[in-house]
């Protein structure tokens, strides 16, 4: 049967939806379903909140339309179906000397999802965002199939890049791969002793790939300590078969209680020797560290979790430090916390990146954590920053226009591409992204 009634959730497992879901395996089946009625598409549902949810409506699961359709070694341009996963592309092309130009923190993300969120990677400061390397998108809009390119229909492209699937169902895309030396990473890991040390190193770093793990529980003089990882691709021999693990059951709530997290973070920090070290790792290990544990979101237990991620302009680093101090003081954070410097690259009206510093921290879903995140979101907005739709499940509609100054331009294009609002999802309704209706 084509449609089945399903309960599904975002990656954070806090927000849920119930509705009819189809999972076509052939383009012809998808076309028939969409001819019947346009419906929003979803991929692997790695967005934490409700970006991939359509409660009470229909949704198309694109994960079985995941084939690589063409590759031109002259230009490095790969054509794929929207459900193709970034990690599979990296696994197929890494050994041949090519990688997706931008890879998000999980290889399970689909190309369609990466476009819909205009995701960024550990090389954002050099390479920009995902959609800056997308040369064409085949889109099924209310009016039929349109080929969207940055040159041919720039406004529609900018509305589709990071556009949360609201301009149409992404069927296929052409993306530029970037040459790499091979499928291993040479990674330098260094301890960052405090916030100023961390920021200074992020500002100095010339590495192609940079990411910082930050201890969001360290306070006082140790505030902002963490580990800076700088990576370059390399060639060599490395066991590529990575043992994948599963989380057999929802973890009990005390697993992420404050003393345990503090202890874990301390050990994690000291894992890297004081003088730093250089290690060689499989490519997937560096780019998608958590993918080894298949359903790690279950570690947060039944209640689920939230991720707060914001970016603030370069000159607002002190404000971000204050925010981190509040988070550390609350004792609510989980070990998963990331600090990174972003470049200016963004491809769409609603793209998240801006030149500045981005902080991402996970929190188990507790009332106090929700309040703290809401407070942080307001703080980010005050200092000219913004929050990330791929992570959010707590923001309020009135905060968005100030964070996303091009929202009206996006709305105009979306109104043309989907006049009936058939593609609306839960996040679009919650944040009133498409306007007052």
């Amino acid at each position: 049967m084509l449609w089945k009634s399903a309960d599904y959730t975002g990656w954070g497992r806090v927000l849920t939806a119930t509705g009819e879901v189809a999972r076509p395996e052939r383009q012809a089946t998808l076309a028939a379903a969409l001819d019947d009625a346009l419906a929003p598409a979803m991929g692997m549902r790695r967005s934490y909140g409700d970006a991939a949810l359509n409660d009470g409506g229909r949704a198309i699961d694109m994960t079985r339309l995941d084939r690589m359709l063409d590759f031109d070694p002259e230009t490095g341009i790969l054509t794929v179906e929207a459900g193709a996963r970034v990690g599979e592309i990296a696994a197929a092309f890494g050994p041949k000397g090519w990688l997706p130009a931008v890879m998000p923190g999980t290889g399970f993300a689909t190309v369609g999802g990466c476009i819909g969120q205009d995701v960024h990677g550990k090389n954002h400061h050099h390479a920009g965002s995902f959609c800056e390397h997308v040369t064409a998108i085949t889109l099924r809009t209310a009016k039929g199939i349109v080929e969207v390119t940055p040159e041919k229909n720039a406004a529609l492209f900018r509305a589709t890049a990071g556009g949360l699937g609201q301009t149409g169902v992404i069927l296929k895309a052409k993306m530029r791969l970037t040459p790499c030396k091979g499928d291993v990473m040479v990674v330098t890991e260094r301890r960052m002793t405090d916030w100023d040390d961390f920021i200074a190193h992020l500002d100095m770093s010339q590495a192609t790939y940079t990411v910082g793990w930050i201890d969001a529980t360290a306070k006082g003089a140790a505030l902002g300590r963490g580990i800076l990882e700088e990576g370059e691709t390399g060639s060599g021999l490395m066991p590529t078969k990575i043992k994948r693990r599963k989380v057999p059951l929802d973890a009990p709530n005390f697993a992420l209680s404050s003393p345990i997290v503090r202890m874990f973070n301390n050990a994690y920090y000291r894992r890297v020797p004081e003088k730093g070290r250089t290690v060689v790792r499989p490519i997937s290990d560096f780019f998608f560290p958590l993918d080894k544990i298949h359903d790690w979101n279950r570690l947060y237990g039944k209640r689920g979790f939230h991720q707060f991620q914001c970016v603030v302009p370069l000159d607002q680093a002190p404000a971000l430090r204050e925010m981190l101090a509040e988070i550390a003081g609350s004792g609510l954070a989980s070990p998963l916390a990331v600090l990174k410097r972003m470049g200016p690259g963004r491809a769409g009206y609603l793209s998240f990146p801006m030149e500045g510093y981005t902080l991402a921290v996970d929190f188990p879903n507790r009332a106090a954590a929700r309040e703290l995140i809401k407070h942080m979101q307001a703080r980010a907005a005050e200092v000219g920053g913004r929050i990330y739709f791929a992570k959010d499940s707590l923001a309020r509609a009135e905060e968005i226009p100030a964070m996303y100054p091009e929202l009206d331009l996006w709305r105009k294009e979306v109104a043309k591409a989907d006049p009936d609002g058939a593609l609306q999802t839960d996040i679009v309704r919650r944040l009133k992204l498409r306007g007052a209706k």
Binding site: K4, S5, R23, A28, R64, R67, D70, F71
Partner: protein
């Protein structure tokens, strides 16, 4: 060594996963089925994943006149020739009850069609002294049940055929793996009620390739279906006939 696999019914979820897994080993794949356009997409995918050759051939289990041409195409490839059979059709039992003529098609798709094809291929494999046939049967063929006994009967027939073919090819250095999948997460089972312990097509493909490497005779995938079916097979008929499972 040069290896080529023909994959019959290449548009099915399991066949697609198997074709990709084979492609990643560097072997050649000939994708055989009815939806040529869909298979063309899979063919480029297989090539980009490392297949030495990936080509589409039109195959319809109900049109045996085309079989000789396909076998001839396979013979053009040097080295080891292998076949994986994923074809089959499962109309709901209620539709068959209303229109018994559907039985012919079900048996052709799931048993006699692929058997006639393999019958043409077997002498070629014997002449080359090796190769493996993977035949996908079903746990539904282990015991007839009210829910799908025509499909089950066809798959049981195919399983018995495979057993005989194994007996034949073994003498010439070849091998036959009979695969009995339990519930697999495919477009055929999407939304069906009563599914449990569902396996992904990728997991099934991995199990099949492992069975090919280890020259297993009959595998259940996932493995625990062997025990589930062991119990079901041993329920006395006077009880079983009153059950609805």
């Amino acid at each position: 060594m040069n290896r080529t696999w023909i994959i019959l019914g290449a548009t099915s979820s399991m066949a697609r996963a198997f074709a990709r897994a084979v492609a990643e080993t560097g072997a050649g794949v000939l994708l055989a089925g009815r939806d040529v356009e869909d298979m063309a997409a899979l063919a480029t995918d297989c090539r980009l994943r490392g297949a030495a050759l990936a080509e589409v051939v039109a195959f319809d289990a109900r049109k045996p006149e085309g079989f000789a041409g396909i076998v001839a195409r396979m013979e053009q490839e040097e080295g080891e020739l292998n076949a994986a059979v994923f074809v089959g059709s499962m109309p709901p039992q209620a539709e068959i009850d209303a229109d018994p003529s559907l039985i012919d098609g079900t048996v052709t798709d799931s048993f006699t069609g692929p058997a006639r094809f393999l019958q043409l291929l077997a002498p070629v494999m014997e002449a080359r002294g090796g190769g493996t046939v993977v035949g996908v049967a079903s746990v539904a063929g282990d015991r007839g049940r009210i829910g799908n006994y025509v499909y089950g009967a066809a798959k049981a027939g195919f399983a018995t055929y495979l057993s005989g073919l194994r007996n034949r090819l073994t003498r010439a250095g070849g091998h036959v793996v009979t695969v009995k999948p339990g519930f697999v997460d495919t477009s055929m089972t999407w939304g069906l009620p009563g599914m449990f312990l569902v396996a992904s097509p990728e997991k099934v493909a991995e199990d099949i390739l492992k069975a090919v490497r280890k020259k297993k005779n009959v595998i259940y995938t996932p493995f625990f279906w062997r025990f589930i079916m062991l119990i079901i097979i041993h329920i006395p008929e006077f009880i079983f006939k009153k059950m609805k499972i």
